[in-house]
Amino acid sequence: MSQQSLNAPGNGPEESGDDSEIVTGGQTFASAQAADDLLDEIDSVLESNAETFVRSFVQKGGQ
């Protein structure tokens, strides 16, 4: 493990995470498309018995 990775985990989100904030030209379209893709992916989780799943998740409390 390098010293660099120990102390400076880098700026991942700054470099890669802000696409959706860019509102210029083609980027807007790309980011709107990305948002739609994301929501499509989420739909597939939510459409499979969301309420039944939620009710199934009952466990004794922890700490």
Binding site: N11, P13, G17, V54, Q59, G61, G62, Q63
Partner: protein, 485 residues
């Protein structure tokens, strides 16, 4: 202390469902299936791993992972992430066994804090503090910080009317006030706030406190004690998890410095923590104990300003990130927070999904989405989906998280434990370890105790390692395999 050891304990939620969402296995049976490889390895559901972490099954069938001692908060985040990976691997294996067995059953492990019946479980932060410091004086300064830090590091979520609030004196639940109209479902910084019943106590499950006083130093009790903070949400974002430790460490350092401190004692910590959770503006007045009011933003800003002179070069990034978090609440501009902090990532996500589907925040689909956000399955968990799209932070390099699955932190006592567990496992030598003690399970074997968590080398441990190699069934160490991989 300038150098401080800390660790994070995460209790996971566990559910095993059929394809139609109905329950396939009770939590006890699902946990048994999940822990099969653990029991096969350690003959117990409570083991220490080669990365010096503890992996076990806790009260209420909650799988739990406790990171090794860390003195660097990014290392702690890496160790915590490694624990998620290890449990995700165990979950995948259990699901393969269930499928091979022809069962319509799939286990989900959720790094969250509350089930659908309102039972809560935790994410516990441990900080080493000096025994000589006045522990009784600490909460007075630390509590206002802990009550309000959820505006930065809360996991976000939705509270619903008539939702049961689990353990604790139910009559005191804020939503159950006799004449009040039911609250509509609303987005909050932290749902765990509703599960806090006391400021400071030794209780853990029934009347959960913000600071737990169970005195388990896991070290020399004449020098150290443990500060056990159990108010935190389980955070998926590495930025959020890092801030929980890095900011609390700075505040503790300021308290220990003996200098004058911000006097912000709140009139009622528990009323305040629930009000702060619900006030997304961060600017509602909170009564102070000596009259007057403050706000969540003010408490956080006062502490940030106060600790700024104490931060060293390596901590400048912490100060900047903390300020960005405060500003996101103060200004309402979420553009940074919505891709970095759990509560704001969720706030945006829930807004998009409610709009798209034409549903309210109280809809079960949103509760399902919240659970999916905390699902540690790297392929299907929604946090991971967001991460792949650059909509949630992936701060740590992948190699570093992978390394943390097998390698203990090198700058604390964990380094010694990690070497002993790894070497003993490679050589097939039976051993028993806990946080302070290591020994071989054979007659006449002397335990080696390490009471200083900053110790990274010890002749007695070298002797123990030599003994393991002599006894070993293998000729030499191979590469350390990932646990249960």
């Amino acid at each position: 202390m300038k150098r401080r050891v800390g660790g994070l304990e995460t209790e996971f939620g566990l559910v095993c469902v059929r394809a139609d969402g109905s329950r396939a296995l009770e939590p006890e049976a699902a946990a048994r299936e999940l822990f099969r490889p653990v029991v096969a390895m350690g003959r117990s559901s409570n083991v220490f791993l080669g990365n010096a972490a503890r992996l076990y099954l806790d009260v209420g069938s909650h799988p739990e992972y406790a990171t090794a001692e860390c003195d660097d908060w990014w290392e702690l985040v890496a160790q915590d992430r490694a624990g998620e990976r290890i449990f995700a691997e165990l979950t995948a294996q259990a699901n393969e066994r269930l499928a091979a067995d022809g069962q319509d059953a799939r286990i989900h492990l959720l790094k969250n804090n509350v089930d659908s019946a309102g039972n809560a479980f935790g994410s516990h932060e441990n900080f080493l503090v000096d025994r000589r410091g006045e522990f009784t004086r600490l909460p007075r300064y630390l509590l206002p910080f802990l009550v309000t830090r959820q505006i930065i590091t809360g996991a976000g979520g939705v509270v619903r009317p008539q939702q049961p609030v689990g353990a604790g004196p139910a009559a005191a639940a804020p939503a159950a006030a006799a004449d009040a109209a039911p609250e509509p479902a609303q987005f909050v910084f932290s749902r765990r706030s509703d599960h806090m019943w006391e400021a400071v106590s030794s209780a853990t499950t029934r009347t959960r406190p913000i600071i737990n006083t169970r005195d388990e130093p896991h070290g020399d009790p004449t020098r150290f004690r443990r500060l056990h903070v159990i108010v935190g949400d389980s955070t998926m974002s590495e930025v959020s998890t890092h801030l929980r430790f890095a900011t609390t460490d700075l505040v503790l350092r300021a308290i220990e410095s003996g200098r004058a401190l911000p006097e912000l004692s709140l009139h009622d910590d528990i009323s305040a923590i629930r009000a702060v959770a619900r006030d997304l503006s961060g600017s509602a007045p909170i009564p102070l104990s000596h009259g007057g009011t403050t706000t969540a933003i003010e408490v956080q800003q006062r502490w940030l300003d106060h600790v700024t002179p104490l931060a060293d070069e390596s901590e400048q990034q912490v100060l900047e990130t903390w300020q960005k978090g405060i500003d996101a609440v103060r200004t309402g501009d979420r553009s940074w927070a919505a891709t970095h902090l759990d509560w704001a990532i969720k706030e945006r996500l829930f807004q998009q999904v409610t709009e798209r589907r034409g549903i309210e925040l109280g809809d079960p689909a949103i509760e399902r989405l919240d659970l999916a956000y905390h699902d540690i399955d790297p392929a299907h968990g929604i946090f991971h989906t967001l991460q792949r799209r650059g909509l949630a932070p992936a701060t740590l390099p992948e190699e570093r998280i992978e390394a943390a699955r097998t390698t203990a932190p090198t700058t604390t006592r964990a380094h010694l434990r990690g070497q002993v567990v790894t070497t003993a496992t490679q050589h097939g030598v039976d051993h028993v370890v806990d946080w302070t003690t290591m020994r071989l399970t054979r007659p006449g074997s002397m335990p080696v105790q390490v009471l200083d968590p900053f110790t990274t080398a010890l002749p007695a441990v070298d002797d123990l390692l030599a003994q393991i190699r002599d006894l070993g069934t293998e000729s030499g160490p191979g590469p350390a395999p990932a646990p249960f991989a």
